[in-house]
Subunit: 125 residues, 2 copies
């Protein structure tokens, strides 16, 4: 699905992590429901059916760490720690409100295998 142009750090550079329009719309809605000045921390952790799993949490902007990558999306900020970025660079986050199989989904060029549950993947590093 169409990717929302982020404010590229440098002209013409594809953002490290991109959001589809649906993902941006839903994240902005979730954030406004929470009322705080929140950003989205995306990361990976060991474990899950295919070896690694995605993590996503809303977080107060003040908690962003100096070595985090920060991606600005039309007023919405994504933060990602450097180790996770190794597995997420070039990933696009999408969202569907389908009754069945709805929710967030990750299309991740670093993943050699993705489990049906969508939450876990394998990557060769």
């Amino acid at each position: 699905s169409a990717s929302v142009p982020a404010a590229p750090a440098m002209e013409g550079l594809k953002p490290a992590i991109s959001l589809s329009e649906n993902a941006l719309k839903h994240l902005s809605k979730m954030r406004s429901e929470r009322g705080e000045d929140l950003c989205l921390r995306i990361g990976v952790k060991q474990g899950g059916c295919s070896g690694m799993s995605y993590t996503m949490d809303f977080e107060n902007r003040a908690n962003a760490r100096p070595d985090d990558s920060t991606i600005e999306y039309q007023g919405f900020t994504i933060v990602c720690d450097p180790k996770s970025m190794l597995f997420l660079f070039g990933m696009q986050l999408d969202y569907s409100d389908a009754l069945i199989g709805g929710g967030f989904s990750f299309s991740n060029p670093n993943a050699t295998q993705t489990c049906g549950c969508g939450k876990s993947f394998a990557a060769e590093m």
Copy 2:
């Protein structure tokens, strides 16, 4: 999670399909966003990684068929065709707005196996 008491057809009879509070809340929100007088049709179909798959669609109440089972939930109506009900009787629908793994989930006593994707199951009939 706590199950919302449906208007039981007969006193004390557990409803054929039950909704958790979160599921009812989210379904009501989705329906109000669509503005029409909609009910939720739940069913099963052949196919999917474990043999059978759940189906769910909002539908205009006028489309309910005479042989459908109809379950009333505090103003919210679920309809289910008789063949699907064979595989869904006693099922509880839940909903989570978790960023990862959020969405609707089915806990179905008829399912002997449920795939990680949550959308497909096996049942012995």
